[in-house]
């Protein structure tokens, strides 16, 4: 295995190109950003040192907590649905239907659209006065719904657009998971008289558990980082009720130019995401093995 034992040299040589890029464009800005979070700085003038004041202020910042809560809401509203949808879609895509290939393609197509396109499209579909949904409701004699402009609907509307846009990704992961289950397992179950629903509950769901864990971890991270859909569809409204944490970070940093404060908030978000990932990894991963 070791010709002349040059593993150390080779390891460094092979790692080096990426590590240089990583150090320059990930580690260095990360450290620099952490440094900024201890300052009050409007990017134009000279920074003034505040110590941990920014972090203290954040703890008392109502807008920070409400934005964090909206983010958690979005995570809770999207994660379970997206995972169930992905699974159901995968069942269709692996069924015996002659349309299974078409379904797989069609369900996946929205995922390749860019966020701006998907979000703009849904903002238009859900537009209160002239959007297709409300136009159809009105044709049928109903009254238009405030999809994006009412507090109780807005986050759900954003979630619906997100379902359409990203469910296909989870479907692909589940499809792969289902295809890995050996045919004999299903066949022997069929012989034993299990119907389709029983097979799904007793065979498919338990056996795709690793996929479920992966989907869960990826989905929670992705949902925690939500920004684009909200920014395009509601701008955080109505009355700030859909403002998510990244949007608040963006606004304080790049609209009000309180760079230090913004950086401090991003670090708190970083720690939260990191903590959740580690907890998920430990609890789910352990039970699985």
């Amino acid at each position: 295995m070791i010709p002349g034992n040059r593993d150390t040299r080779d390891g460094i040589l092979f790692s080096l190109p990426f590590m240089i890029v990583f150090a320059l464009f990930m580690v260095y800005p990360l450290v620099f950003g952490f440094y900024i979070s201890f300052f009050k700085w409007n990017i134009l003038g000279t920074p003034s040192f505040l110590g941990i004041q920014n972090y203290v202020d954040i703890m008392h910042d109502e807008k920070f907590w409400s934005s964090l809560w909206h983010t958690v809401q979005f995570v809770l509203m999207t994660t379970p649905v997206l995972i169930v949808m992905g699974f159901l879609m995968a069942l269709l895509a692996t069924s015996h239907s002659p349309l299974k290939g078409v379904m797989e393609t069609v369900f996946f197509i929205p995922y390749i659209l860019s966020m701006t396109v998907a979000a703009t499209l849904w903002a238009w579909i859900m537009q209160k006065d002239f959007g297709i949904i409300n136009q159809v409701i009105r044709l049928m004699g109903g009254e238009g719904v405030s999809w994006l402009t009412s507090e109780k609907n807005a986050m759900w509307s954003i979630s619906i657009a997100t379902y359409w846009w990203t469910a296909g990704f989870n479907m692909v992961l589940y499809t792969a998971g289902i295809k890995q289950i050996s045919k004999e397992v299903f066949e022997s179950a069929t012989v034993d008289g299990a119907n389709a629903l029983q097979r799904i509950i007793h065979i498919t769901i338990p056996l795709v558990k690793p996929t479920t864990i992966l989907c869960l971890i990826l989905q929670v991270i992705a949902s925690f980082n939500v920004f684009g859909q909200v920014y395009v569809m509601t701008g955080g409204g109505p009355a700030g009720s859909t403002r998510v944490l990244i949007q608040y970070i963006y606004e304080t940093g790049f609209s009000y130019f309180r760079m230090g404060y913004s950086a401090a908030m991003s670090y708190i978000l970083f720690v939260i995401i990191m903590a959740i990932s580690v907890i998920q990894y430990i609890t789910l991963g352990r039970r699985d093995s």
Partner: protein, 271 residues
């Protein structure tokens, strides 16, 4: 039995149509005049189909240039990502060198960094290099994203050591083994990484929004978002822009459909 089958097919067709409907609506809206869009007397199909919005989009914006910019950025990103990621993924998978595990976890932690944390420092950094407002500034931060390494390492680990050892015995060095054995065997993983980095680069929004100043250098996602702001309530025009922006992606997807889907599936299988 037959009735059940018909019912199942009907259900599936309905699902497909529902899923495709938003895309169809995007196209339909783009073929209407604005006066037909913002109106209380709703019609589903355009009464006088028109390409006006498309002509307007092409003539009043740099939309074609934006597409080229996005294409250039995405292609360079996907090639560079692979060139950078493959060797280190190989090192993580197959070479036992001191500090390997620590290094691996540091790189993996990079996957969890919310990009917003990096924006301000990156901007200042790039500005001091004098490359803000160039296409390279849109590309470089993407190259530090470690997702590709994760996928490639998973795959390379599955390649039996025996294959490599055979090559070493024949007198091949590391580089030859890597180039002749690992890379060809890892082709499917490589495709995945390349495609994913293409899609991610194409869909990138926040960073190019900040890093690029001249509207002629915008990427298509930024251009379209700007388009929406510029044309306020001109939905028909905005939808025409969205259609133009989506066509290259759809073509890319339909050509590489199988590879893309299998590629994403791979991230899951061995995870």
């Amino acid at each position: 039995m037959n009735a059940r089958k018909i019912l199942a097919r009907a259900f599936e067709v309905a699902l497909i149509l529902i899923w495709l409907f938003p895309l169809a609506w995007m196209v339909i809206t783009s073929l209407k005049y604005e006066s037909e869009v913002v109106t209380r007397s709703f019609t589903f199909l355009p009464e006088n189909p028109t390409l006006y919005n498309y002509l307007h989009a092409f003539s009043s914006t740099y939309i074609l240039q934006w597409l080229c910019n996005s294409l250039a950025i995405s292609i360079v990103t996907m090639i560079a990502t692979f060139i950078l990621d493959a060797p280190i993924a190989y090192a993580f998978a197959k070479i036992r060198f001191p500090g390997r595990n620590i290094l691996f976890w540091i790189v993996m932690a990079g996957m969890m960094v919310p990009f917003q944390v990096l924006i301000v420092p990156l901007y200042l950094q790039f500005n001091s290099y004098g490359i803000i407002n160039t296409l390279s500034s849109a590309i470089l931060p993407r190259l530090a994203m470690p997702i590709g390494i994760f996928i490639l390492r998973q795959f390379y680990e599955g390649i039996p050591d025996a294959l490599e050892e055979a090559a070493f015995i024949d007198g091949a060095g590391r580089f030859r083994t890597f180039a002749r054995i690992i890379l060809p065997l890892g082709k499917s993983a490589a495709t995945t990484v390349i495609i994913l980095s293409f899609i991610n680069a194409w869909n990138d929004f926040l960073w190019p929004l900040i890093a690029i100043n001249d509207s002629v250098k915008y990427t298509i996602t930024v251009g379209i978002a700007n388009f929406q702001g510029t044309h306020g309530t001109e939905y028909a025009l905005i939808m025409a822009g969205a259609v133009i922006a989506s066509i290259p992606e759809l073509v890319f997807f339909l050509i590489f459909r199988r590879k893309i889907i299998d590629g994403i599936a791979m991230t899951g299988i061995k995870g």
